[in-house]
Subunit: 341 residues, 2 copies
DNA sequence: TTGAAAGCGCTAACAT
DNA sequence: ATGTTAGCGCTTTCAA
């Protein structure tokens, strides 16, 4: 592949002039520029990334860190939505995206390797799980440009993008209440698994129940499982079967849970919304389940991804920029799965 | 960030010795190695990618070229599945993946830029649409390491990974026939949009119909639309309404089409499979639609991605390796949506 | 407006 | 077993 040197030779100039032309630096006579450009075309010259990076310390690449896996059924609608936004912003700003295949089995997986290698200029953490503490410490200590999506690291260093899940949990519960439901169940995450988003939705649910009913939420109406669909299905079946007062609505903290819950209802020969209303959370279930059309909450995932990449790139360009915290609103979307009573 | 030089200074050796230790080259006294390793630890040294790449010409990165978009609803189950396989293989071989945000609006988008910049060592084309001819020519002419997934470039240069869609189309139609159906409709792609996979499925369908019924397929039972769900919905509604002999089964050339067809049936107040049996194609609809459980065809997307990355990496390591063509089988998966007659 | 020299961090080839 | 020299392709001084 051609180098500056070869282009320079063909154009009869020094390689530095080629560099000037390539980078539009001015201070090049029109005629010279044309000659150089012609040589570039003839040789199919394209500047090498490594040479440039070595000098400038910039890579034009953002790294994605995430414990989530690609392509695993629908598990990753969240990741994909955010990634889409990152992609859009990166396109605008002429950046590439580096995915570093992680090893889920390896608890010591080094998420920061791409940055250590100076393969990327900064990193975005899409955190379906919380960022490991060691990693957080290192990022803050070394002032690594990093933006977190979907979590709020309680650390004075990080910029983050999140949605207001507590409010969304509250408002959703309130909507369900207003539809006439009084026994409203919630499906959340097993204790021990940290997910700030889901935990916040649960807090919002509890606040709404307390406020609307005057009592604390009935713990027997709060069901839990990990992220697997089977576990959710079983927990819904078990929870519903055991419940003394049958709930008339189930607020699922994620759309995947809503799908699994719908499956559980099928298994129990119950119908939605006749026997149990369902409400999801995340904003992709409507592309998937259309009978009944599901009520859910939509997060502006693409916008969140865009914001994350934008903030990161600004920070990379101007390291002294203060950190940013951005909270996006969640939108409730009504649907047939939420029946009126 | 620390460099070899600084490590060398701290360890009291020359920088080349540091290089030797880092790359496990041997020819370093045990004691020296320990001293160097200690210095590396103390300084948090990590080799810079750019310096190494400049020398070796290797980046440890594979580029993905695809006209598909990320995160756009379920459109990309195919891409995600393949990407997952690529990810797995890259993890095995210590490679990163570079996504270059493309501009869908720009017909001259330069897919090869990352390679021209020597940011990647080779590229994988995940072709939901056919690779533009110019690009194909350049790749072949410049011997760019490249593997195509989901298409078979008729060009003596390319390695490719594909599934046997003609056979799958044939076998699927045969299954539907064996379930007792005689008026079997097919949903394919608008003329003008090239997609080898879908075209092959249609050819398989036509061959089966010819063989089983003794006649050519009834053109009024072959419906078409582009990739949007609305268009598919409308074409199914229109096709069914217009049909003189109503079909009892519809073979959809993709799962997205099957979903849209199901929506169309809902709209027409028809039931699946009572009024119209549906069969999909791609292997993710079962994660999505569960009432009725859909009959479909599964492509081993992850295996395909793994194979693509493996072949590409082998080729990068040994440029003289002959090109490879791999055809994966497609598996028919029965479901409630295919009724018996 | 142009060029020469130095250096980014690393490895390869050749000493010692 | 260790070091020296050169050079990968580029940009950043500084000089002409």
């Amino acid at each position: 592949m051609a180098t500056q040197k070869e282009v320079a030779k063909l154009a009869g100039v020094s390689f530095i002039t080629v560099s000037r032309v390539v980078n539009n630096e001015g201070n090049v006579k029109e005629e010279t520029r044309l000659r150089v450009e012609e040589a570039i075309r003839r040789l199919g010259y394209f500047p090498s990334h490594a040479g440039k990076a070595l000098n400038t310390g910039k890579n034009g690449t953002l790294g994605i860190m995430t414990p989530a896996r690609f392509g695993d059924g629908m598990e990753n609608a969240y990741l994909m939505g955010v990634l889409r936004g990152i992609e859009l912003k990166c396109r605008e700003r002429g950046q590439d995206i580096l995915l570093s295949p992680m090893n889920e089995d390896d608890p010591n997986f080094d998420f920061l390797r791409p940055y250590r290698q100076r393969k990327v200029d900064g990193m975005i953490y899409v955190g379906l799980r919380q960022m490991p503490e060691e990693m957080r410490n290192e990022i803050a200590r070394r002032l690594i440009p990093c933006v977190v999506v979907g979590d709020r690291p309680a650390y004075p260093y990080f910029s983050w993008i999140d949605t207001d899940n507590e409010t969304a949990g509250y408002e959703t519960t309130r909507r369900i209440w207003e539809a006439g439901h009084r026994a409203i169940a919630f499906h959340g995450l097993n204790p021990g698994i940290h997910n700030a988003n889901i935990a916040d939705r649960e807090r919002g649910y509890r606040r709404a129940i307390r406020e609307l009913s005057g009592n604390d939420a009935d713990e027997s109406l709060i069901w839990r499982a990990d992220f697997t669909r089977e576990a959710v299905r079983e927990s819904v079946a078990a929870g519903y079967t055991r419940a003394k007062t049958k709930p008339t609505a189930l607020f699922c903290s994620t759309d995947n849970r809503a799908i699994a819950a719908l499956e559980a209802l099928n298994g129990l020969s119950l119908r939605c919304p006749d026997d149990l209303s369902l409400v999801g959370f995340d904003g992709f279930i409507r592309d998937i389940v259309f009978s009944p059309v599901m009520a859910t909450n939509e997060q502006p995932l693409t916008e969140m991804g865009k914001a994350a990449a934008g903030i990161l790139l600004d920070r990379i360009d101007a390291p002294d920029l203060p950190r940013r915290e951005v909270i996006f609103p969640v939108t409730f979307v009504d649907g047939e799965s939420l029946g009126r009573i």
